[in-house]
């Protein structure tokens, strides 16, 4: 990767306002509003069928919008065709043209837009240098490995020097090692070229490691839109709490801590890595299974009527059938309202007082 691209591109901001997509009776995307700042990396994250790909395709102009508006750089593009939205896209299947060589694939858009030959070759040289494709230019896509095909798709997206780039699960067809490399590479490319990135993924690791902003979706709605750290440390809903982090956060009833004022309406959350052995701790766990993971052990147990997992140092010698006492720091406790599904930080202190009394 050489530093050949001199002028960083200015990305453009994207604004989604109450955007909906309806198929028959189902609302695939239900009135979502997202703000993607210019030059930022935004990941649309969620389980399959949550509407994240549909949202991306609406931004791309490949899907019609049933309600709301999409603006790019302040310009309303809701009904504009893809070609007039000034963006590029990388597809999950790469969508390389199988009958064209690597060079022709990358140059396709420039040829369509009648960019002069000299400039085309100039840009091709820059992009292939950047992505290490120089030796592969005459090959057909079928003669390339998965990672190389991925690079060609990237090349085709960045050669147009568009201010916005959309990616639809671009790494899901690669093996784990390659995925890690490409993750770093895509992030570096985005920061170097400065375009605005909207990136769809179902993999929380991808979203957390790459994005400036993660938009977590579920059932066509936004659960939380926040920076990765915020999403992990202060999840806005039980869904967000369970979706981010491996193993997922333990959710349990407030009854576990005995009589508590509003116990009925509250749900508590504690991440497995935030609990530790403590003789005076307030959690009493019946151990059911112990998984050895090398650096640490994952202890499976039951707390009240809910499953509970805790990550302990591997020096620990807990065995199934034992009962252990666990403690935690109050700032790591998450409190959610059962009825509204919202976070209740205002109650954390009250619970803390109760536990210490």
């Amino acid at each position: 990767m050489t530093d050949q691209l001199s002028v960083p591109l200015a990305g453009k901001a994207i604004q989604l306002t109450a955007v909906s997509k309806i198929w028959g009776d189902t609302r695939a995307v239900d009135q979502i509003s997202v703000e993607v700042p210019e030059g930022s990396f935004t990941a649309l994250l969620g389980p399959s069928g949550c509407g994240k790909s549909t949202t991306l395709r609406m931004i791309a102009g490949l899907e019609t919008v049933n309600g709301g508006s999409i603006e790019i750089d302040g310009r309303n593009v809701t009904t504009k065709p893809s070609a007039q939205r000034d963006l590029s896209m990388v597809f999950q299947s790469y969508a390389l043209f199988p009958h064209l060589s690597v060079a022709e694939n990358i140059l396709f858009g420039l040829k369509v837009r009648r960019v002069a030959r000299v400039e085309r070759l100039e840009r091709l040289k820059r992009v292939t240098g950047l992505l290490g494709l120089a030796e592969l230019l005459d090959r057909k896509p079928s003669q390339l490995s998965g990672g190389q095909q991925q690079r060609v798709a990237l090349g085709r997206a960045i050669i147009g020097e568009k201010p916005v780039c959309l990616m639809d699960e671009p790494l899901s067809n690669l093996d784990a090692k390659l995925r890690h490399e490409m993750r770093l590479e895509i992030r570096a490319l985005q920061q170097k070229l400065g375009f605005t990135m909207v990136y769809v993924t179902h993999d929380q690791v991808e979203a957390i490691t790459m994005a400036d902003q993660v938009v977590l979706m579920n059932g066509g709605k936004i659960e939380q839109a926040a920076a990765p750290r915020e999403l992990y440390e202060r999840p806005a809903s039980p869904f967000a709490a369970r979706f981010i982090g491996t193993p997922p956060m333990n959710l349990f009833s407030a009854h576990a801590f005995g009589a508590l004022g509003q116990a009925e309406t509250l749900q508590l959350g504690l991440r497995p890595e935030n609990a530790f052995l403590d003789d005076k701790g307030s959690i009493l766990l019946d151990v059911r299974a112990v998984e050895y993971l090398g650096a640490d052990v994952l202890v499976d147990g039951v707390l009240g009527d809910a499953a509970f997992q805790v990550r302990l140092p591997s020096t620990n010698s807990t065995r199934p059938g034992e009962t252990i006492r666990l403690g935690f720091n109050l700032e790591n406790l998450h409190v959610f309202d059962r009825t509204s599904g919202k976070r209740r930080d205002d109650l954390t202190h009250e619970i803390g007082v109760h536990l210490h009394s």
Binding site: L62, A83, F97, H99, V112, R113, S142
Partner: protein
Amino acid sequence: MRSLKIKRDWVHGWLLLLPAMVFLFAFTHIPAIMTFINSFYSTPRGRRSAKFIGLDNYERMMSDPVFWKVLWNNLWFAIGTIPVSIALAIVMALWVNERLAGRGFVRMAYFTPTVLPLIAVANIWLFFYTPGFGLFDQITGSLFGWSASNYLGDPATALNAIIIVTVWKEAGFFMIFYLAALQAIPVSLKEAAQIEGAGRWTIFWRITFPLLMPTTLFVCINAVINSFRLVDHIFILTDGGPDNASALLLFYIFEVAFRFWETAYGATLTVALLALLSLLAIGQFFLFDRKVHYK
């Protein structure tokens, strides 16, 4: 023991092959070889049995004006039917591949000519072409006030009239192949091109059409073979007339062999036809091979 087992496998193998092989030899290979041999003999008549006459039959063929006439007819017939039916097939396939109301019905309607027997089709078209009260004369008569015309009886129009029937019959058949090929092209390719700013026309010529090339090759070879093979409708529509204006090579072979009973000369013409077809098929493969992208 072991050699016995191998022997038994060997017998099994041949027994399994036998049924297909018997039919293939009886109806394809032996007749082809017999035809080739017969073309060097005279036609047996009554007590006079066939005798070896070397290349006499071939010399006769080269100086036969009717042979050259039907060969030219066949060339025009091929040029008239193949490109038009392929172009029509692509256009129809593109259309029925889109989301449109009653798509299944339209697809079926296009395919109907293929399902109908050619003889029945020819009879329907015979009515269309009938001078005076046929469909075409009724339309041209009431719209433009043209006088009755005998499309099938005029040497200038007879071949064209047959070409039209053939195109109508074949386009729907070829459409099915194009439709299948179109549906095998991933939608994301079209979307990727769309994002890059390509219009419908560019997408068709730069993406869709090149990806349809394997189908085009297949359809082309079939169309060429069909243009020599499909002669059923000629019997109904024109019987090769007037003055051989609408006779094709295979039709002429049938006339020579089974109407005039000159079987040896018929065999000679058949050899010429087979040689021509193999040349065309091989030529097409070489011509197309560079331009066709196979997955």
